[in-house]
Amino acid sequence: MRDFVRFLNAYKHGLLFLLLQVISFSLLFEFGVFQRTVFLSSLNRVTASIQAQTSSWTDYFHLDEVNQQLRDENLDLLQRCELSLKDAGKEYVFAEPDAFYLKRYQFQYSHVLSSTKHLQNNYLTLDKGRAQGVMPSMGVISEMSLVGRVERATKEFALVVPIIHRGFEASAQLERSGHFGLLSWNGLDYRFAQLDQIPKEAKVQVGDRVVTRGAGSLFPEGILIGTISEAIIDEGANFYTLQVELAVDFSSIQEVMLVKDEQRVQLDSLTVDMPTDE
């Protein structure tokens, strides 16, 4: 026993080091469990209020950009309204003159308090929370282009997982042909994401628009994600290796829109208890 104590004493620093590293890595790996304990997250009152304060200072320098973005977005929306009054046919029109559709999605503006773009897992913090009706899995868009989804919300703030997060995945399709695949991010450049599972028959061209598929009801169908910047088929492969230049500029993201799907609960209940994989 005494020898054991002596051992502990001799190596106490090494042991403390190992202990702290084990704790650090447990935190790293179990981030999911931490969802319920907001303690370490940026939503913690202290960090969120610091970010809110810092944001109120730095926001001043972005007013011009925000104005321009709002003007562009308004224009875009007005044009789509115009479009929606005509018979748009098979085009992916966002706001169709359809009572069913119009009732389904609710929108809400929110300000970005903090964001990162150079980490492997980047997050956005928004100034709307549960008190304003924000819930996890709500879609987030900016200037009618995809930003990400709400991961969790406290009473006054929300945390968004953007496209530029290693854990982000979305069902996306080529606007032109309808072929769909999985959109994700490889962590290398915040301007480009990757689209997989598009078969080589799809005849993809650089410049093709990539939009959301709408399946899985995280985002409405037809939201612009980006345009193809690289379309390669490896030797003997059956699928494209595609790079998508993102429509959203994550280096200057200030205002976003939250999308609430009123029919989510109904849709989700369809697939509850149904086996999807075995």
Binding site: K12, H13, G14, L16, F17, L20, Q21, I23, S24, F25, S26, L27, L28, F29, F31, F34, F39, L40, S41, S42, N44, T47, I50, Q51, T54, T58, S114, T116, K117, H118, L119, Q120, N121, Y123, L159, N186, G187, L188, D189, Y190
Partner: protein, 152 residues
């Protein structure tokens, strides 16, 4: 949180490591380790990466005493020495702070990436970021750092 990065994220500033670097030479190692852990956790809470910065800072804290020992000046450290350019000289400080920054940065970005794909980029990020951090730390040392002690 104000984020400072250049070269498209390849060179990032992690100024908070200053806290560990400037801890008094005689600070008990357990305290340095714990301080590093807490400092890392605080940074993690801003970046939503629980454990990431904590791990890097703890490693940095662990390496510190061995490093201090290896860099012991010829006449040994004096009781009143502080880890500053004023007391220890620029050359010592560059080696001391530089190695601590390098260890911290490389570990941080390796663990953040957690994969060997784009390994070169990850290493480059670690190396360049530690350079930037070291440069700013030295600058701050000169502008605001400890002043030379009065001659004994």
């Amino acid at each position: 949180m104000i984020n400072l990065s250049m070269l498209d994220g390849l060179m990032q500033l992690n100024l908070y490591v200053l806290f560990i670097i400037l801890l008094p030479l005689r600070t008990p190692q357990s305290l340095v380790l714990l301080a590093g852990f807490v400092l890392g956790l605080v940074m993690d809470s801003f970046y939503n990466s629980p454990g990431l910065h904590a791990s890097a800072c703890v490693l940095m804290a662990f390496v510190r005493p061995s490093l201090l020992q290896a860099l012991t000046p010829r006449e040994d450290y004096e009781v009143t020495d502080r880890p500053s350019i004023a007391d220890m000289g620029l050359s010592w400080f560059i080696r001391y702070a530089g190695i601590l920054c390098l260890v911290h940065s490389i570990w941080l970005y390796l663990v953040e990436r957690f994969s060997f794909t784009a390994f070169g980029t990850t290493l480059a990020k670690g190396f360049l970021s530690s350079l930037l951090t070291l440069a700013v730390i030295i600058l701050l040392e000169y502008l605001l750092g400890a002043k030379r002690k009065a001659a004994a």
